[in-house]
Structures are given as C-alpha cells and as structure tokens.
Amino acid sequence: MNTLSLSQLRRNPARLIPGPARLQSLAMALMLPAAGLLIFLFIWHSAANMIDTSLGKFPGPAQVWEQSVNLAAEHSAERQRAHDFHERQALRNAERLAADPAAMVEIRPYTGKPTFFDQIGTSLVTVLSGFILASIIAIPLGILIGLNQTIYIAINPLIQLFKPVSPLAWLPLVTMVVSAVYVTNDPLFSKSFLNSMFTVLLCCLWPTVINTAVGVANVSKDLLNVSHVLQLNALTHVFKIVLPSALPLMFTGLRLSLGIAWMVLIAAEMLAQNPGLGKFVWDEFQNGSSNSLGRIMVAVLVIGFIGFLLDRTMLLLQRRVSWDKNAILR
C-alpha cells in the first residue's frame, strides 16, 4: 500500500479500500448492472406476452435467444455451402484441365445470399469508411474555422443550415449524384456502398467540425501569448499548442459523429435497400414470417451493442492519445 504513488491512487481509488471491502465494491460493480438486466428481462418478457401482432406474439427474451442461435446456424450453413461450392468448382476445373490442358477454366464467385453476420461486416466497413473520411475533412475544417474568426463567420451559417438535415433527405440526392458521376466498367466500390458511405459522411461531419472549432477557439490566452512571444510558425502553433488543447473537445465531437454515423447508416440502408444491417431488418419485416420479429429484435440488440463498442473504441483511442492520463473520461 505504501508504495502506491499519488497518480496511481488518483487513477484507481479502489486500491485504497482494504481487502474485504474491495471485494464488496467489486461485487457491487457486477451485481447492480446484473440486477438491472434481470429486471429489464422480466419486464420485457411480461410485456411481450401481452402484445399480439399480425406476426404472432411480440418476441420475448427466449424467442430472441432462439433466433440468434438460428442466425448463427444459418451463417455457418451458408459458409459450408460456399466452401462446398468452391471445392466442387476446383475439382471440376482440375478435371477439365487434366482432360485438356488448354481448356479455359473459369473461377466463379459464390453468389449465396448474405447472412446476418455478412451484413454486420458490410455495415461496419461502411460506417468506418464514412466516419474516417468525414473526420479527415472535419478536423482540418474545424481547426481552420476555430483559428480564424473571419472564416468562422463566413462558414457558420452553412454549418448551422446543414447540421440538422436528416440522412433520408440526402439519400436520393447522393444516389443520383453517385450514379451520374461514378461511371466505370470495373467498379472498385459498389454504388450501394458509396451511397451509404456518402450519406453517413454528410451527416456525421458536423459534430466534429463544431467541437473541434470550439476547442481550438478556446485555447487559453496565456498559451497563445507564449506562442506569440516564441513567434511559433503556424504549423508548430497548431501542433504544439492548439491541437493538444483542443483534443478533449475534438474527441467529444468524434464520438458524437461516430454515434450519428452508426444511426444514420442503419436508416440509410433500410431506405435504400443497400446491403447491411438496415437491409436485414427491412427484409425480415417484408418477409413477415412468425420468426421475423424475433430476428429483427436480434438485429436491434446487435446494432445497440456495436454502437456501444464503437464508442468504447473511441474512448480507448482518446485515452491513448490524450496527454492528461488522469482526466476522467466516460
């Protein structure tokens, strides 16, 4: 206990508590969320039983669990089919080549329907591409308008105008522009991917722009004076003084942006029938089997969980790059 440094204590106050009490606090940290979860499951279960829809009863926890097992099974079955297909194709090609070495063999891709897990992958790739591209635009833009009052006054009305626009309003425009501009015989990206990604990008620019700008504009006057006295050039000024100061607010913006990106993407995929979790939900809704609602509920939970993981990832990233390791981040 005596060897603990002050900074360690600040980071982890639980270390101060002696053995049994520490165990107790750990138990509390696990028990309380578990209790909350149990109560939620109970209410969900009871309420679900009382709701009758045209597709049967609203799914309770048990049905949702059953459907998630089904979805996993379908996924592995689909993978098995793909594997078998590739094996058959390889075999057939080998036979053909054995009969005639000059034969033109074709390797065709497997064209099965994407499983739930494929859709998760598609959505993740799309959201991250859109978010990273948006950040590459938003951070420099935020720094620029944070540093320069004139540019800020010029651009701020535009930001305020575009910030509240719903993704669904952008979607038709993005779709038309992408199909008009992205004309190629050998597309590197599918159009549906580009549509979803640009819609995400347009919607998740703003929190990062605004928060970065606020962070940059609020750099302490004293530090600005230091920069003036040292006659730092613009680049050193930005990297040594402005960015470290603005980092906490910048990350607040990035986390808000990523949250918005994820929500926008699901909506865009539903509306545009672009591959991804949104399409999965819409397809199940259209499908209308007795299992559909359970499967949609699985998707809802997965969407929530992925959103949570994305936010935690940003938080970890912030901890990594933040200079103030004692700052309380949540």
Binding site: D222, L223, N225, V226, V229, T236, D324
Partner: protein, 286 residues
C-alpha cells in the same frame, strides 16, 4: 547613461462603447543595460499593460518603445516573458517546455547536442534538473515558475519581462525564488522589468522602483533608486535602517499619495447606485 530600453510617451486607449478609454498616459522610462526595474502600483493601474506593450503583445496608441534604438511593435524572443501563472504547456515535460523555446531561438545557430546542453544548463540555473522529465501537473507551483523562468532565460533575451512572477506562490517559496533570481541576475546581468505587488520584493531585488499612479490614465508617479549594495541578504536588510527607509518610501507612495484607488472606486460605486436607484423604483411601480 546610455539607454538600452526606452519607453517614450507610451499611451494606450482601449475602445469602449462610450468612446476610447485612456488606460495609460505618457509613460516615460529609460532603462540601462543590466538594470533591474520593478513596476509597482495598485491593481488595475495598468502595470501589466505596460509590460505587454514592451513584450509587443499590445500596441501603444501613442508613443512607443525602443530597444537598442529599434522600435518594438510585435512580440519577439529577444523580449522573453515570465507569466504570472507559469503558462507552461501542460502536455510537455519541463525539458520539452524549455526545448520548445530553445528550438525556436537557436534552431539555426546551435547543434542538437549544443541545444540539449543549453536546455540542461538553464534548468540547472533554476535548480530544476532533477525534475526535467516531469510534466507541469506533477510538480509544485514554485517548480513550475522555476521552469517558466528557465524557459525565458534559455531564450537569451535582451530584456526579461516578468509579470508578477511570484504572486501566486507562498511566502517561503517566493523567498527561495527571489534568492535564485538575484543569483541569476548577478551572474548573467540580464535587463529585467518585473511587475510586483510586494513592496519587500521590489526593494530587495530592484535597482529602481517605478511607482505608478492609479488609473484611468495611469502614468509614472515616482521613481525610487534603490542604492543598497549587492549582494543583498534579506535577513540582514530587514534590520537595516536605509532598507527600511526605502521600504517606507514605497509604502508612503502606495498608501498615502496614491491611496485614493479605494475611495475612487467606492465613490464610483456610490454614484452608480445613485443612478440605478430611480430606475429601480420606477420598475417596481410598473
């Protein structure tokens, strides 16, 4: 006496909705090389504004500042500032904070190894080599201020400007730092302008004390030459008749000749209250 730093008719107006507000009025001050000058005056009299004009952070509306015959109109490394609240970059260690300044000033004239030695030398001057890899939030207030001084010294400035450098420190730490500063000034012979609220500090450290009148339109009231021999020992001086006489002179200026600051603000408050009252009453009537 050949003047090194000259403040000539320095005046500054700040714009207000009611028209320009004259904060400083015709400040004249000639400082020779190696001189230690303190500015003392009541809060709000514009001491910091004078310092900021010399630093180039503010522009005088009339008059100007000459350093070695050249006009000062922008900030520059030859006029290093020690700020009141240290103003170290919290994300850099003590060493890196000094390094930022050194790289800026000596990037063309010193090699990497020379810079490293120079940074360490300056941290040595303020007795901070033991904590040079610590960040500001890991060291005490006095230590931060030492690093701030090291950063300013490392720029090899022609003039060292100190804005109440020890104002936020406790009395013991302040005494330590004052002794360190006297040592440094003896060894390096810097030209220093220091703002202070502390009469003892001013008398102990300075060659001259510039006493400022109260604002608005503050100006130089009196200049007191401190002809105590150096090195000065605070304990011996506390019993020295001449030291106490000089101290008395400053106190008399601040609390007898220029004491009207409180009266002035009290009178102003009373006047404000008087003008507010009728409108307040009419608001109640409505």
């Amino acid at each position: 006496m050949n003047t090194y730093l000259q403040l000539s008719e320095v005046s500054i107006d700040f714009p207000t909705p009611k028209g320009p507000f004259r904060a400083l009025d015709k400040i004249n001050l000639d400082i020779v090389k190696g001189e230690f000058v303190s500015l003392i005056g009541h809060s709000g009299c514009g001491k910091s504004t004078v310092l900021n004009i010399v630093a180039g952070l503010h522009q005088a509306t009339y008059g100007g500042v000459l350093l070695e015959g050249r006009e000062v109109n922008s900030p520059g490394a030859e006029r290093a500032v020690v700020f009141q609240n240290h103003s170290l970059l919290p994300w850099l260690t003590a060493y890196e904070n000094v390094e930022l300044a050194v790289k800026q000033v000596f990037k063309r004239t010193k090699s990497k190894a020379e810079m490293r030695a120079w940074i360490e030398h300056n941290l040595e001057l303020v007795h901070m080599t033991h904590a040079m890899d610590k960040r500001p939030d890991e060291i005490s207030g006095g230590m931060k201020q030492r690093v701030g001084i090291a950063r300013a010294l490392a720029m090899e400035p022609k003039v060292l400007l100190m804005d109440e450098p020890f104002g936020a420190l406790d009395a013991l730490t302040r005494a330590h730092l004052q002794d360190s500063l006297m040592e440094i000034h003896r060894d390096l012979g810097n030209t220093v302008i220091m703002i202070t609220h502390d009469v003892d500090e001013a008398v102990l450290l300075s060659d001259r004390i510039v006493m400022m009148t109260n604002g608005p339109a503050a100006t130089v009231g009196e200049i007191l030459a401190i002809d105590l021999p150096r090195p000065r020992q605070r304990v011996e001086l506390s019993d020295d008749a001449h030291y106490n006489h000089l101290r008395h002179e400053v106190l008399a200026f601040l609390y007898e000749r220029q004491r009207k600051v409180e009266d002035f603000s009290a009178a102003k408050k009373a006047r404000d209250r008087a003008t507010d009252a009728p409108s307040g009453r009419s608001a109640c009537a409505v």
